[in-house]
Subunit: 153 residues, 2 copies
């Protein structure tokens, strides 16, 4: 993460925002003038969002926006849905997330849907940011996996 | 993004959540039973969050939570703050984000602060997910960069 972003001159920013956390995990995270969210550790019952949820929101929104654009370009009805499961686990150092984005494309046949998922993954900026990680999976599903909390030991 | 997450058996999930987008960029993204956020394209003036903001919220919250834990372990006062600037630009295919996380650690000397930033980057799960991307920079700052919207052409 040392190198400066490449191609900034060729591809100048079209949009810029900032998101802040000033007090840690049990506080709030906010976009000045925009979204302002109470945060808490995922390992307590206290209400609040957490980094896991923000990662899931980022990938689901980005992938579905990209799929929507692909549907439009192909004159297909907009049927895509994205649910991203994020799990947190210990790691050799610190913690790690397992990220699984599930995509439903009920409006098209399997082969077309697979091609659209591959294309979306190559175009969506959030998928690109996460693309170097082995912990991230993007896949087409017929039905979303029911998501249950991890059982307490 | 094909391989399944590694080490899942050695490091079983401690927490699991899901974040959904069912309708595209001009709709809402939500965690069932939790955060529910109106979304809109960053290139319009319409109110709403977007993937750029979710990425920033994820990285700022995660890095500051990690820094807070490092401060606690070293018996230091909690002074860390993280502001993450996210910019969107065109790319060879689709779009890309430039992500710059700025960290303030006013409570400690420069050398200690640099070491803490390096440690946080190696431990924070969101920084790990993004660590393979050249578009991501994490850096220590004395003062946060003022963030202005991109001027319209």
């Amino acid at each position: 993460m040392q190198a400066m972003p490449i191609d900034r001159e060729k591809f100048p920013p079209l949009y810029r925002t900032v998101a802040n956390n000033d007090d840690g995990l049990e506080s709030r995270s906010y976009v000045p003038g925009g979204l302002d969210v109470k945060t808490s550790t995922p390992l307590s019952a206290a209400p609040g969002a957490n980094p896991e949820q923000f990662v899931g929101l980022a990938l689901s929104t980005c992938l579905n926006a990209t799929l929507e654009a692909i549907e439009k370009r192909r004159d297909l009805p907009h049927t895509s849905q994205v649910h991203t499961i994020v799990e947190m686990a210990r790691d050799r150092r610190g913690f790690q997330f397992y990220v699984t984005a599930e995509i439903r494309l009920p409006g098209v046949d399997r082969q077309t849907a697979e091609a659209m998922v591959t294309l979306a993954e190559s175009r969506c900026p959030v998928a690109k940011l996460l693309g170097g990680s082995e912990n991230v999976v993007v896949k087409l599903v017929d039905d979303f996996t029911p998501v249950e909390p991890v059982a307490k030991a």
